[in-house]
């Protein structure tokens, strides 16, 4: 197993945002993480990326325990993550943003720079290289986040709503980019609200509700699951369907 999370819980005071969640990801998989707002996806995600230490449970990557390791240790181990709200370095140029990531594997300036340029080419951001990140719109900044993470040459990419707020056309292009990244051998875990993206990309879907994993399996099976439908649409919807 590439990533293995066992019994992960995260409590804020007496409130459990994530309760006893398990996740195993094999090399080369694309996993979708879905659930209604406030289901605990992002918190779980932060536990996987080292941004928040779980209250209990363990997270290991490629057999190495990373439960309490810092975010930069996660990056060095080969886990890259994007942020729900783009966290690009606004006053730095697009190229400089990517160079920061590239320095992880290429400590020398010229190597880091050429790696970054290569990635800008791949992600279609090359023509914005010398613009400040501030000047990019939301789609551009989301793309820049992906580019920056790609510069880490990660084995696993955690994408937190990387496609939210994009137009259908932009989503299409972003999906193509994610396919390309997957073809390069990067394993993907995607948190996403856009079901179209999950249905076309994910090989396996994990559904969160109120901090629990309530279902997992192939996307086409999961969307038919009664529990999942209830979680998204409420109990009444399930009843009405049953009555019909």
């Amino acid at each position: 197993m590439l990533l293995e999370a066992k019994g992960v819980s995260k409590a804020f005071g007496s409130f459990f945002a994530v309760r006893n969640a398990d996740l195993t990801v094999a090399e080369g998989e694309i996993i979708g993480l879905i659930g209604p707002n406030g289901a605990g996806k992002s918190t779980f995600f932060n536990c996987l990326a080292g941004d928040a230490a779980p209250t209990s449970g363990t997270v290991s990557f490629d057999g190495v325990d990373l439960t309490r390791a810092s975010p930069d240790t996660h990056a060095r181990a080969g886990i890259g993550r994007t942020f729900q709200v783009p966290a690009t370095f606004e006053d730095m140029t697009v190229l400089e943003n990517v160079v920061v990531g590239a320095y992880l594997r290429h400590p020398h300036r010229n190597d880091a720079r050429s790696k970054a340029l290569e990635i800008l080419e791949l992600t279609g951001l090359a023509r914005f290289a010398h613009q400040r990140a501030r000047g990019l719109g939301t789609p551009g900044r989301k793309r820049l986040e992906i580019a920056r993470v790609l510069a880490l040459q990660p084995r696993l990419m955690l994408l937190d709503e990387a496609l939210a707020g994009l137009t259908p056309g932009e989503v299409q292009r972003a999906v193509e980019l994610l396919r390309k990244i997957h073809d390069m051998g990067v394993t993907l875990v995607i948190v996403e609200h856009i079901m179209e993206v999950i249905m076309t990309l994910a090989q396996r879907v994990i559904v969160f509700n109120q901090g629990h994993v309530i279902a997992q399996g192939k996307p086409e099976d999961v969307v038919k699951d009664e529990g999942v439908i209830q979680a998204y649409l409420g109990r009444n919807h399930g009843k009405r369907r049953g009555a019909r």
């Binding site: 990326a49 941004d51 930069d72 993550r81 966290a87 730095m92 920061v100 020398h108």
Partner: protein
């Protein structure tokens, strides 16, 4: 910029001969010292965005040690310069190690508190000259005492040090270290997720900055031949570095120098126009600059110029 740099260098080298009056030379030396201090502050306060309001402590250590080795060991003050650098770096490590565990303003607050504590403490220790201060050699025993009658030798020593500090900053800016500092300033959480060892990087920046600031302090006390707690560790010393860098553009290579070129002559002017009665004006001036920067252009004159020139180019390209 390609013509700008040689022009600036030429202007700085030629200045004492163009305006060869001692008064103007003195202002020139003061500009250079302010530029060195602010450039030193800039490494951690500008590039890394960790605003220190207590850099006077490193300046003070740098200023005290050379006169201490003279007073108690009769050594040339210069001997104290490397000793002071080592002490400043150790002090930086002692402050940065605990405070950089925390995010936010804890670092800024800790720097003010510690600088003030040191200032008050030094004022009570007789060995350190207490409240009266320390004196350097009144008459140089040789060139190595660096006690010159005119301003000119100091001017060129300071200019040389400024050149070294700026060159080091330039190299830092282009390196991985510099790139990491800017990413921390922009977004700490994102930087960490990209493998930047945030705490360690901040700590290294503070230690480097402390070493440079210490040199600035040494230059000051060697030239003046006198130091007391207020002019070494005083809050105004710290604030002046911050304001100078912020005015020109914190986190830019030439920002602190530009700030010094504007601020120091302005202070000299207010002092001459208003005489001793206008000494409080310095505070009003600093306060006013803070208000203007915060309201209109937190990036300083560098950012102002950047916006202005991009807008101008956009208008004239169309």
């Amino acid at each position: 910029m390609k013509i700008g740099l040689p022009l600036l260098a030429l202007a700085l080298i030629g200045y004492p001969f163009v305006l060869n009056d001692p008064f103007y030379r003195d202002i020139g030396v003061a500009v250079l010292l302010a530029a060195i201090s602010a450039s030193a502050w800039n490494v951690v306060g500008g590039y890394a965005g960790q605003v220190s309001v207590g850099h006077g402590m490193f300046f003070g250590v740098g200023a005290y040690v050379p006169l201490l080795v003279f007073q108690h060991g009769a050594w040339p003050p210069v001997v104290g310069v490397p000793i002071a650098m080592v002490l400043s770096v150790l002090l930086a490590a002692a402050i940065g190690y605990p405070t950089f565990r925390l995010r936010g303003h804890y670092f800024s607050m800790a720097t003010i508190a510690i600088a003030e504590l040191i200032r008050i403490y030094v004022g009570t220790v007789d060995y350190l000259g207490a409240a009266i201060g320390l004196q350097g050699p009144a008459v140089g025993r040789g060139w190595w005492d660096l006690t010159f009658r005119g301003e000119l030798p100091y001017y060129y020593i300071f200019l040389g040090v400024l050149a070294v500090v700026l060159y080091a900053t330039f190299e830092m800016q282009r390196s991985r270290f510099g790139s990491y500092l800017r990413s921390i300033r922009a977004n700490e959480r994102a930087a960490a997720s990209l493998g930047v060892p945030v705490r360690q990087t901040k700590l290294r920046a503070l230690m480097l900055s402390a070493a440079f600031t210490s040199v600035a302090g040494s230059l000051y006390s060697i030239k003046t031949g006198f130091i007391d707690p207020e002019s070494g560790f005083g809050l105004l010393v710290s604030v002046q570095m911050l304001i100078t860098a912020a005015l020109g553009g914190a986190g830019t290579l030439f920002g602190p120098l530009i700030g010094a070129l504007i601020l120091v002559p302005l202070q000299a002017a207010t002092n001459t126009w208003f005489g001793g009665g206008g000494s409080g004006l310095t505070y009003i001036l600093y306060g006013g600059i803070i208000v203007l920067l915060a309201r209109f252009e937190p990036g300083g004159l560098y950012e102002f110029w950047h916006h202005f020139s991009t807008r101008w180019r956009a208008r004239h390209a169309a």
